[in-house]
Subunit: 304 residues, 2 copies
């Protein structure tokens, strides 16, 4: 029996007050709702605006979630920063909280980074965290980071840190890369970044998915992840893909926030930190028109 982490994890979007401080009330409710719908919490991911939050805010939100009874074992916080010590600080904090693992985007300012350089970076972080319980999930998102996590790097890190380096989120959208990882690293927890890969990736050993749209469609995505062998799996997949494709044609974070705001009747959710922008009025109404036409709803959001 494998100890691999499995399931679906939402890169939890982060609500703000009018002064741009985190709105913990809305945040907690959203986290509770996601858990009820079967999703885990990949807090502080790309779609969480994590890179628009300070270290203090990230650690403070995690502390507060734990204080309010959110199970750390269902959390996979993003901890990758440009600076070794910042990544170490967030990773230690999350590990001490008992989080299932940490999702570590590579340092993303400098470009043209060598495999040796990235290996040294991850080694420094792991050695400095210096906790047996640390579980690192790598994060391949070249469109944002500009720093790919190559198969060669994964292989070296697994070999050097077999207890610590245990999985990856692949946001490249490149199916060939997904297939190569699944074939080469069968014991690795491999999460595509879109539910649209579920019926193709699960039979090859994927662990689930960590996808933006789990924020708005958690129950249906959890269901397909658990039942990818069901007779109606392809029908389920098609339904998920319709919703996914709608969101993908809008700026994702703003669209997620507006959908939660609209279907959950909580206007505060629309606030977003610069440099990102909220949807304009025309895009808002187009998004809702498309989602309504697709029969989309978030029925249980209000009761959470």
């Amino acid at each position: 029996m494998s100890n691999k982490l499995t399931g679906v994890f939402a890169p939890v979007v982060t609500p703000f007050n009018a002064d741009l401080s985190p709105n913990f009330g809305l945040y907690l409710r959203h986290c509770q709702w996601l858990l009820q719908q079967g999703a885990g919490l990949a807090v502080f991911g790309t779609n969480s605006e994590a890179n628009s939050l300070t270290l203090t805010e990230r650690m403070g939100l995690l502390d507060q979630l734990a204080q309010h009874g959110i199970d750390a074992g269902r959390m996979l916080p993003g901890t990758g920063c440009c600076t070794i010590q910042d990544t170490v600080e967030l990773s230690r904090h999350a590990t001490v909280h008992g989080c299932a693992g940490v999702l570590m985007v590579p340092p993303f300012y400098y470009k043209g980074i060598t495999e040796d350089g990235l290996f040294s970076y991850y080694s420094e972080v792991i050695e400095r965290v210096a906790l047996q319980d640390l579980r690192v999930y790598l994060y391949h998102i070249p469109a944002f980071s500009g720093v790919p996590v190559s198969l060669g790097l994964i292989e070296r890190l697994i070999k050097r840190y077999p207890q610590q380096v245990v999985g990856i989120k692949d946001s490249s959208g490149d199916w060939q890369n997904m297939e190569d990882m699944l074939k080469n690293f069968p014991d690795f927890s491999i999460f595509p970044a879109s539910e649209s890969f579920l019926t193709r990736a699960m039979p090859l050993g994927a662990s689930g998915c960590i996808s933006a749209t789990i924020n708005v469609n958690p129950a249906a995505i959890s269901r397909l992840c658990a039942n990818w062998q069901a007779e109606d799996a392809l029908v389920q997949q098609q339904k998920l893909d319709v919703v996914r494709k709608i969101f993908q044609t809008y700026p994702m974070i703003a669209a997620l926030k507006f959908a939660i705001s609209y279907y959950g009747d909580r206007p505060g959710w629309q606030i977003i930190r610069p440099p990102l922008s909220a949807l304009g009025a025309d895009k808002k109404s187009a998004l809702i028109t498309e989602l309504d036409a697709a029969g989309f709803s978030m029925p249980s959001l209000l009761e959470a």
Copy 2:
């Protein structure tokens, strides 16, 4: 008489100890030497590995430089971070120190940022710093940030914050962009990121340059900046270009550090923070061979 900031500024490379902590002794000496050679100090820039330093380290180094008598008025620290509050904290700190200005790279994780979004970001920062003495130099470096600073954005920011938004460093290497900025914003302090543009940009009103290679060739670059109308300006320019082109064929930061280490006989300078890597042995010897062949030297480095 214009109050424009002028001259050459080195994006000061940052030396480290074996444990990767900043080596302040080497740092102070390098800063003193650069000032003696006529260069100002754009500390915490791209070539300073600023994005591999914590906020605490950046503020601590600036405090120490000031304590050791380095004139804040000759400093132009980089303060742009992904997060509004981090940028505010560094910018306030530098402004309170009396720095000539702050060099503010745009938030660089999220991509596809709109002009409105970036305008909001800079507005939030300027409003929150809330200091009359704040002088912001924008930083256009799309190859690293992935977030261009457009002419439209510059125009809007100058119009809204004429006292605060006073200049830009253009690291795009795109001469057309440089020319467009010089024509459109004659009162703006515009710094190309390479001394190779000096004889073309100074006659059009450029303020000087902020260039990586000022770390190793400060006196000659300062001289051409001050004497671009001299008869031998093009000869000077050609000599500078030879050195610049050599460094440009190597990973820049590692090459600068190795050159300082070698010509200054200070091996400690070679240490670089991951994810960047030091030059390999073959590249080190190739760099020195090329520089020696070009007659390059750093004669006064040892006496600094």
